[in-house]
Point group: C2
Chain length 200, copies 2
């Protein structure tokens, strides 16, 4: 069954972007530190519980998973920073929840749909478009909206062994407690990859 | 060699205490949710990489580790909430970094020492008292001070699969980025136990 999934690299102190995040400094200072793990696929002293396939390919595995999604729900801030990926996110439909109409470039992007009536509606449309495939959720604000609205199904957290000390957090105030289920943990020196399922 | 170690149960969104933390509601609303894992020692579907000894005893293991420490460094807020454990924290010396002199009850507690000249000094004294054993660090504020001062050596995080949404965070602003090393991950349904070493 189709699930909506957030993939996010996060420091132990909860930051997904460093300080001074701005269009000319995307992700802020130290952002790349959170993404170094990608490409470190050979395993290491802490990776002894992985099979050799996982050791050699789990970063590829995450990339394959992202590429296999059937639709994208992405926040306006995220999509505007990258001009909607030029209208093409691996060829799948992109839904942008926003209370304001889209900018002019979107007229050229037939796969991009702005959804004016909320995150729930955006997710319903994205799941319909995705069919049996998953919906990829992009952006911290959108992820939090989806969590609060009960329409985020899974979180794939790449937890990085670093304390950034400042920046933008993935989880700011949520309206209520949300229970999760640990689906899978992959233990490597560069990141602890934890997959959670949201208990709706 | 002696190491200073913080043990902390933390929600995925970084909270170690719920909202409305107060003397008559210690740890705040939902605090016990973060400590339910303790006692769930039988393992489960995600615990397949544990040996049977670990499955039956890893909560006991953490308790034994805490009990084997040779000294304690604890924040004033923490110790005053529990009146310095009546002066006896498993029989080991207790060091309290504080800029103010101790309250009157401390005169009855020969194992409790208030350290007025900073967290570094408190840690030096605690390590000297602990000998080859570890120093247990108590309290979020004290842990952050020790991190910022470069005198916290290890963090044992019990990461709980829940989003509390509000409360008190373990990691607030730190003066600079701090690199960690993943020492060990124990994967159970109730908590992901991650041991980090601070790269000084």
């Amino acid at each position: 069954m189709s699930a909506s999934v957030l993939y996010m690299s996060m420091s132990l102190d909860g930051y997904i972007a460093g300080p001074n995040d701005a269009p000319e400094n995307p992700g802020g200072d130290g952002f790349m530190r959170l993404h170094e793990w990608y490409g470190f696929g050979a395993g290491g002293p802490n990776a002894s519980d992985l099979t050799s396939d996982e050791k050699s390919g789990f970063d590829q595995h995450f990339l394959d998973e992202v590429n296999a999604t059937g639709a994208v729900v992405a926040g306006r801030r995220t999509v505007e920073q990258v001009d909607h990926w030029g209208g093409d996110h691996h060829g799948v439909p992109i839904f942008v929840p926003s209370h304001r109409p889209p900018g002019p470039s979107v007229a050229n992007y037939p796969l991009v749909t702005y959804v004016m009536d909320g995150i729930e509606s955006a997710m319903v449309q994205a799941k319909a478009a995705a069919g049996d495939r998953n919906v990829l959720v992009h952006g911290a604000f959108t992820a939090q909206s989806a969590l609060a609205a009960g329409v985020l199904d899974e979180l794939q957290i790449h937890q990085i062994p670093v304390l950034l000390g400042a920046g933008r957090r993935l989880f700011e105030a949520l309206p209520s407690r949300i229970e999760l289920e640990v689906v899978r943990v992959i233990d490597t020196p560069e990141a602890t990859h934890i997959r959670y399922r949201v208990r709706h």
